[in-house]
Amino acid sequence: MDLKDLYRDVIVDHNKNPRNFGRLEPADLHADGHNPLCGDQLSVTVNMAGDRIADIRFDGSGCAISVASASLMTEAVRGKTLTEFASLHARVHELLTQHDSSIDPVSLGKLGALSGVREFPARVKCASLCWHTLQAALQHETNAISTE
């Protein structure tokens, strides 16, 4: 269990300087996510162009893993279609949760920096909160979602 696997430079950087931080107003879609265990709270706003994610912002507060994960996610999904998002989400989920995952972190670009999270089971929810929240927004579920 090496700390540097969890807090890679990319993660530390995105925590300190989150990208796409804020809210789109107006926004086509929006959802709030909450992790009651840690108190992590974030909201995602999205504007669509057809079935593509044209623009995305997030805001809220949380630990470094949840903030960096959300920041990295917003960069990775901009311009993606709903189908592309679903497949990326599935791969990230596998990367975060499965020890024997065959996914090469490098193939996920900067998101690969999250591969250390699976060594810290207590922190997986922190990294996945933003993805669940965005999924809820894309499914037009505007209700708050929770990791519990």
Binding site: L3, L6, Y7, N15, K16, C38, D40, Q41, S61, C63
Partner: protein, 418 residues
């Protein structure tokens, strides 16, 4: 300056802390390549060998079901189980052992009082009074009975320092108040609530009082007769005892008048399909086969704590608290949450740039175990406008050098997180 340069004397009564540490096998291990520093005692404390031995002796030599058996093992198990009840009675100075009900823990003890004592007495519009620093275990059971009866939960506010506001309490207690349920010590902040003052005022108003003693009893001498409370609840696992066992102390007259809560074996005298008669106290409230080994383990834990002396434990823990408060205050960007002048050895804090969860993870890689999160006291977190805190909570087997390790690990975290 750290402990090495301070030449402190670590002593609980006549015993050195290093000899006490030798009683606790779990403390002597490496975690993530470092000697374990266990500072999560408010969540659950560790067990001295004598407790582990008492439990394993029971399973190796004396286990059988209790109370009804005529054979030797059942008699032994019964004697040990009831012996543990007597240990508890003495430890809290209850008037008689009928007033000591074994439960699964603090949570179950509070639920028992909510359902059996309070619920039948409540009318719509009646009030239950709690404080803003309660653990969820002393909030949710009351919300339940309110939902079922139309009673109202009233909350005594706390001050910025984390003290229960006595003036506000005096204006909240009134003719509709049917119970005052208060934490004796706050688990999230460490505040020692001056419950004596609250109890005196409640007595005058004719309001019964329940104390959640889960965090008080590990750190102080508790005398339920002197406190003059009606109910006192605690868990063995915060007292060097096992999980799954705890105690409800109740004033005998109140317990006698209360209907049983759960039905089943052990709590009855006779059963027919027409009519069941109930057992006497305390068994009336102990339906089913109890956690026999748990009670025996708790008894052993209380003997161990008595051998050290609760007063000595309290005195040493206050030294740890003072040192930890001083050293943590020097850490840049660190803010202590909960600054009441009278606290148990619990320090909750936040740091400027690092979320408590990241702190918890980083400290763990340094072998330092603390708790991070809302500590089952979400209303306390909302009061301070923070999602979570990091909490270091101390026991009498902790050392000054361990506090130095905590501080060093915090500096390390600041480096990691840039």
């Amino acid at each position: 300056m750290n402990a090495a340069t301070q030449s402190v004397i670590e002593q609980v009564g006549t015993r050195s802390v290093s000899s006490i540490r030798a009683d606790f096998p779990i403390l002597h291990q490496q975690v993530n390549g470092h000697p374990l520093v266990y500072l999560d005692n408010a969540a659950s404390s560790q067990h001295p060998q004598v407790v582990i031995d008492a439990i394993s002796q029971y399973y190796q030599k004396n286990h059988a079901n209790i109370h009804r058996g005529v054979h030797t093992l059942s008699q032994r198990a019964t004697d040990q189980f009831e012996g543990a009840r007597e240990e508890v009675r003495r430890f809290i100075n209850a008037g008689c052992s009928k007033e000591v009900i074994f439960t699964r823990g603090t949570t179950e003890a509070i639920n028992l009082v909510a359902e059996s004592f309070l619920r039948p007495r409540l009318q719509p519009g009646d009030e239950i009074l709690i404080s803003a620093l309660e653990h969820h275990a002393n909030i949710v059971p009351w919300q339940h009975v309110c939902q079922h009866t139309g009673a109202v939960l009233k909350v005594i506010p706390i001050t910025q320092a984390g003290e229960v506001d006595f003036t506000a309490f005096e204006s909240l207690i009134g003719p509709r108040t049917k119970l005052l349920a208060l934490a004796h010590v706050s688990n999230a902040l460490g505040t020692v609530v001056p419950v004596e003052n609250f109890i005196a005022a409640a007595r005058k108003a004719g309001v019964p009082v329940l104390l959640d003693g889960a965090q008080a009893i590990p750190h102080s001498v508790v005398d339920v007769q002197k406190l003059d409370c009606d109910f006192y609840c605690f868990s063995a696992h915060k007292l060097c005892g096992p999980t799954g066992i705890g105690v409800l102390y109740g004033r005998e007259a109140l317990l006698q008048a209360m209907p049983p809560w759960q039905g089943g074996g052990d709590m009855i005298l006779t059963v027919s399909f027409e009519k069941t008669t109930y057992n006497q106290l305390p068994w009336k409230f102990e339906a089913g086969t109890p956690h026999i080994a748990g009670a025996i383990g708790l008894g052993a834990a209380l003997r161990y704590l008595n051998s050290l002396g609760m007063q000595n434990i309290a005195a040493y823990e206050q030294q740890l608290l003072a040192y930890a408060t001083r050293q943590l205050s020097k850490v840049e960007g660190l803010r202590i949450i909960g600054t009441a002048p009278h606290k148990a050895a619990v320090v909750s804090f936040v740091t400027k740039n690092i979320h408590p969860h990241d702190l918890g993870t980083i400290l763990d890689t340094e072998g330092v175990a603390i708790r991070t999160g809302h500590h089952c006291a979400m209303p306390v977190m909302s009061f301070y406008g923070i999602p979570a805190t990091a909490r270091a909570s101390f026991a009498f087997y902790n050392t000054f050098a361990e506090i130095d390790r905590l501080v060093a690990a915090l500096h390390h975290a600041q480096n990691v997180m840039g």
